[in-house]
Amino acid sequence: MSIDAATVERIARLARIRIEDDQRDALVGELSGILSWVEQLRAIDTDGVAPMTSAVAHGLHWRADKVTDGDIRDKVLANAPLVIEGYFAVPKVIE
C-alpha cells in the first residue's frame, strides 16, 4: 500500500503540521515505506490468535474515587504562552 501527495497533505492538515512543497515528495516516500514495512505483517496467518493488548500480563489498574490531585494552577499554567486571570488565553476561536 502506498499513499499519494494528497493523502500526505490531508494527514498534515489533520495533525496541524505545516509541510512545505519540497518536503511533500520526500514524505510520500517515507510514509509509504513505513506502511509497506507494516504490510509485511499481513502475510502472517493470525486466525485463531487472540489480539495481544499488552506485553505485560496484568489487567487495567483502577483508582479509588478520591481527590488526590489538583490545586496546582501555577504548575498547570507554567508553560502557557499567555495567561489571563488564571485562564489559558488563546487566539479567538469561534465556530
Partner: protein, 495 residues
Amino acid sequence: MSEYRIQGATGDWEVVIGMEVHAQVISHAKLFSGASTEFGAEPNTQVSLVDAAMPGMLPVINEECVRQAVRTGLALNAEIHQWSRFDRKNYFYPDLPAGYQISQYAHPIVGEGWVEIELEGDVTKRVGIERLHLEQDAGKSMHDQHPDYTLVDLNRAGVALMEIVSKPDMRSPEEAGAFLRKLRTLLRYIGACDGNMEQGSMRADVNVSVRRPGEPFGTRCEIKNVNSMRFVMAAVEYEAQRQVDILEAGGVIDQETRLFDAGRMETRSMRSKEEAHDYRYFPDPDLLPLEFDDAFIEAARASLPEMPDDKRRRYVEDLGLPSYNASTLVMEREAAEYFEDLLARLAKATGKLEREVAARASNWILSDLFGHLNKAGRSIADSPVAPDAGAELLMLVIEGRISGRVAKDVFEEMFASGRRAIAIVEEKGLTQVSDEGALAEIVEKVLAANPAQVEQYRGGKTKVIGFFVGQVMKETRGQANPAVVNKLLKERLDG
C-alpha cells in the same frame, strides 16, 4: 394514540428522532485523574498534570465511574460488556489539551437496552438504547470574556461522561421530550448523574429526519446544544418542518450539524467549511482493556433502588392510586420517598391500611404540597412540611377532627411557620369543644364512672380534680376546653 404527522402541501410526513445524551457521572474525582470534579471552582484549580496532558502523564481509571456506568446500563435494561476498550478520538480544539479525547468507540461498556416512556392518555412506549460508553469531558472555552482571546478553563477537562445513544425510535416532539425526561429520572434515581441541564451536567444532541410514513429513513441532521426538555421539543418541531419545506420545494437535505438557537427557537447550520470530521479513532495505548467479573455487576445491581417503573406499577396495583398520581409521584425519587414515608406514618396514626389512605395522601401531595412548593420555588427535599407533619395533618382530617376546609388553612400556616398541625389546631381552637352542654354530658359520665375519686374530692382532697380533668380530656381526645371542664367539674362537685 393519534400519530404525529406534519401536514405538507404534498401529503403527510413522519418525523424520526434519535438522541445522544451526555450525562456527567457523579464522582469525586475525574475519570482518569485524582483532580476534583466539583462545580464552580476558580479556573484551572481542579486540574492535574494528567488532565493538562503534560508529556509522560498516564491515565488511571476511577472505579466509581465504571461502577456508575454499569449501574446506569442495568437501569436501562441493557447488556453489560465485561470487556470494553478505550480509544482515542483525535481532534484539535483549545479546550482539549491532549489533542484527543479518551472515549470508547468500537467496544463500549454497555450495549443494547431500552427504556419505557409515558405518553398522553396512559400510553407507554419502549425506546431502544443503542449503547452507552464512558468518555472524558473537554474543558470550557469562553469566547465573550475578552475582545481578542478565547479563555480556557480545564477544570471540567477529564470529568467522566456517559454518552447514551438511543435508537431512532421516537416519532414526535412529545416522545423526544418524554425520553429525555425519563432518562433524567432514571439517572437521578440511581444517583449516577444529577441531571442538571442548566449547569450542563446533562446535554442532548438530537438527530432528526423526516420521511413519508412507511418509507426508509431520510437524511438526518444532528442538532447540538439542546439544553432543556422544552428546547428538545421545540428543536424537533422546528427542524422537522424545515426539512419538510425543503423536500416539498424539491430540495435535498444535507447531512449536517446544526445548532439550536434558544433565543429565536430555531436551528441553524454551523456552516463548518472544514472537511467532514475525521477522528482517526485507534485503541489508546496508555490503557489496557477494561474488564470486570460477574460479582462486580451483581454488586452494582444490588445497589440499585426500586426503579420508577416498578414503583409506578406498585402504586397503581397495590395502593390503588390513579395512574396520573402514580406517574407524577415517581418522576422524582425524593417525591416518591416523601409519599412513602408520609403514607406509612398516616396508616399507623389512623390504624388504617396504606391502601385505604393512599389516594388521599397522594392527592394532598400533588395539589396542596406541590402547589405551595412551586409557588415558593422550593423542592420537596427542603419542604418546610416534613412527611410526619403532613401525616399528622391528614390524620386530623381522616379522623374527622378538622374539616377539609380547615385543613387547607392549617396547612397554609404549617407551610409558612413550620409548626405542627395539632399545635395550630389547638392554639386556634379549631376543633376544641367548648360547648357546655356537650361537655357536661362527658363530665357526668366521668364522675359516674369514678365514685371513689368523687368521695375523695368531697372529703377535702380537692387536688383530685386534676384526675377528672385528665379523664375528660381523654374522653374528648384532647379537644375539650380545659377552662370549661374545670368550671363544670367545680359546679358539679361543689354544688
